[in-house]
């Protein structure tokens, strides 16, 4: 387990029930600051549900989701914050948030947690550049004086907009889509849409980036590009990444820490090496898949 000192997000006793179905059952894990944490598990294990709870799309049935900006000393105030009724606590540049108490848009706006979706959710009828501009909504909203100054054409807004375009352009350079900036996002090939969704999430300046199966449907080359992009994000921006992934090559290659879920219950938690050799994981997940792979390979004559 990572030490609390280096933790950006603490998930404690998270439970999510849908009627009689317990999708996530008493789940606890930590996400390390500046690291890549992977959340894996078979289909229907509850991974996306965990994301939806963290990002405020679902109200967790039980549990605490705490996120820290800045000084780790603030962790000591977590229980006090929980006992009080408020959502967050600020001290200078540092802050502590209880995500389960916040509506979805505030989780992104204030706690600065960004996410992508399992089924890509771009704005297909808007251009690639516009997608990245929408992601900078809150910063631009302030710069436009909540529309008033913007309507009147104050130069401060024009400056802010140029800066936003510059930022979008730097992300487009990074994901190799500069040439397609003015094309509608819905026209991009699948792999490019995935990368654009990651870039769009990054344009909100997140502290924690949650990616729901970013490599799904990518070919090996695109998958390798995505790995490089994620490592770049971690190294250049220090953004912590929480990743759901089915593709074991991606998970083993880039993640520092893996949490394994099965039927909503955590069955393993550790480094890639530890998880790879964990008998419970092999039984629930990896083992079955390897066998299936071998069987399929035998069938096609490999």
């Amino acid at each position: 387990m990572t030490e609390l000192r280096d933790t950006v997000l603490r998930v404690e006793h998270l439970t999510m029930r849908f009627g009689g179905l317990v999708a996530v059952d008493d789940l606890s894990f930590d996400v390390a600051r500046g690291g890549i944490t992977a959340l894996i598990g078979p289909n229907g294990a509850g991974k996306t549900t965990v994301f939806n709870c963290i990002t405020g799309f679902y109200n967790a049935s039980e549990g605490r989701l705490a996120l820290l900006h800045g000084d780790p000393a603030l962790w000591n105030l977590l229980d006090a914050l929980t006992a009080g009724g408020s959502r967050s606590l600020r001290q200078g540049n540092s802050a502590l948030f209880l995500l389960e108490r916040m509506p979805d848009y505030l989780v992104t706006q204030q706690a600065r947690v960004a996410r992508t979706f399992q089924n890509i959710r771009l704005f297909p009828g808007m251009t690639v550049l516009e997608n990245l501009m929408v992601a900078q909504h809150n910063a631009l909203m302030v710069a436009s004086g909540f529309t008033v100054l913007g309507i009147l054409g104050f130069p401060s807004y024009a400056r802010a907009e140029r800066a936003a375009i510059e930022k979008a352009r730097s992300w487009l350079d990074r994901i190799g889509l500069t040439a397609r900036a003015d094309d509608p996002a819905g026209d991009l090939p699948y792999g490019a849409q995935r990368r654009l969704e990651v870039a769009r999430a990054m344009c909100t300046d997140p502290v924690l980036l949650c990616l729901d199966e970013p490599a799904a449907g990518l070919n090996p080359r695109e998958s390798a590009e995505l790995n490089a992009l994620l490592l770049d994000i971690r190294n250049d921006f220090g953004t912590s990444i929480l990743l759901i992934e089915h593709d074991m090559s991606v998970v083993m290659e880039i993640s520092d820490h893996i949490v394994v879920l099965d039927y909503g219950v955590k069955i393993a938690d550790g480094t890639p090496q530890e998880v790879r050799n964990d008998p419970a994981v092999i039984a629930a997940y990896l083992g079955v898949q390897d066998e299936e792979v071998e069987k399929a390979q035998a069938e096609v004559g490999l």
């Binding site: 990002t55 799309f57 979805d104 848009y105 505030l106 989780v107 992104t108 706006q109 960004a114 996410r115 979706f117 959710r121 771009l122 704005f123 297909p124 009828g125 808007m126 251009t127 550049l129 516009e130 501009m133 929408v134 992601a135 900078q136 909504h137 809150n138 631009l140 909203m141 436009s144 529309t147 913007g150 309507i151 054409g153 807004y157 907009e161 375009i165 352009r169 487009l172 500069t178 900036a181 003015d182 094309d183 509608p184 819905g186 026209d187 769009r200 999430a201 909100t204």
Partner: protein, 459 residues
Amino acid sequence: MSKKSEIAAAQSERVDLTRALRDAGLAALLAFALFLPLIGFWARNVGEGLLLVTRWDALALVVLIVAAARLFYTLVAQPWLKRQRARRTEIAPPWRTALAKWFIPFAIGFVVVYPLIAIAGAGMRGSIKWVDNFGIQILIYVMLGFGLNIVVGLAGLLDLGYVAFYAVGAYSYALLAKTFGLTFWILLPLAGVLASFWGVLLGFPVLRLRGDYLAIVTLAFGEIIRIVIVNWVDLTNGYAGITSIPRPTFFGIPFNADDNGFAAVFGLEFTPLHRTLFLYYIILGLALLTAWVTVRLRRLPVGRAWEALREDEIACRSLGINTTNTKLTAFAMGAMFAGFAGSFFAARQGFISPESFTFIESATILSIVVLGGMGSQVGVAIAAIVMIGGTEIMRELDFLKEIFGADFDPTKYRMLLFGFCMVLIMVWRPRGLIATRRPSVFLKERKTISADLVKEGHG
């Protein structure tokens, strides 16, 4: 070409003919069933009772016309359309790009000089009708269309009760002007503020609704406002409406024949045309203001958030956008422009009653937006000209009386024309006249986005 393929081609032609005949027969049957009660029987008031008259000749004529039209469509029009479609090239012809570039400046220039053209064409007396019935009337709907376009076209929220805000604007002006004697220029912004306040009020309960549910609740809201106006007789005078509403003045100078009236002060001969021209330029200014504000809003974060909301609300929330506020601002903004238009309407008419704010008005404005192409200002303006101008022009078609007899009234067929236009456009351009979307910002060049990619919103 080989003999075989020629025969095959000839065969397919023959098959087409039988198919066309069958289609025409079906159409005739359908027309017969539909028009039998509508045209075949005619209940006439004769003294005390009703006399049922049959009109088999008229029915046969209509059925024949329908069958012939269907035959023409399958045999001539459809193949022609197909060939046209195949011939359409990727690159737009040069005249088209030139048209796109010069259309808006030319159109604005035209509407500015339009009253002068009307005066030159129809003289001082005759031009009033052209400036008032065509110019002002159309511009009111252009403005309403622009306003509703923000809610429906940009934010993707289907609003069937838009006329409620128009009514709020009109009654605000009428009541405040009569009670407190405030002038038009003070009440115009005030009416806008009041209407947008009601817009927010409507916005709150419908925030969580989508699609059909949103449409029904907004429809109900429109009716509630109208029914309150009808029944709150002490305040609004109910069905009788409010009369002698103060008219706008030219910086305090009234438009009348008095010694201190506009004509006398400026040493002109008195004519009601002065006021009509003044009103024309006010509504033109208001419509242009609405268009300009909308264009600017689209380039601001709120405008982009509206469009993003139409595209994908969940993605918006994941980007930290407060969708509640975004929807409310869209409702408030749309309602504000309706309020402006409403107060102008009251000032122009001098008389308002609940009759002017029925559901059919909402439907008309919405169909202008839908026919024009959601989100497109040029499309909305063209649709307003066609729909409102079209109904006005029906009053002018006196020559039809010579064909159909003296008691023929073309305006009675207004709704028929309306429906016909709607069906035609929806077949020809399902997403409206101008369905392409112009990006709000670009890196290298502004490419228009085809309608297939742009979402219509989910409510």
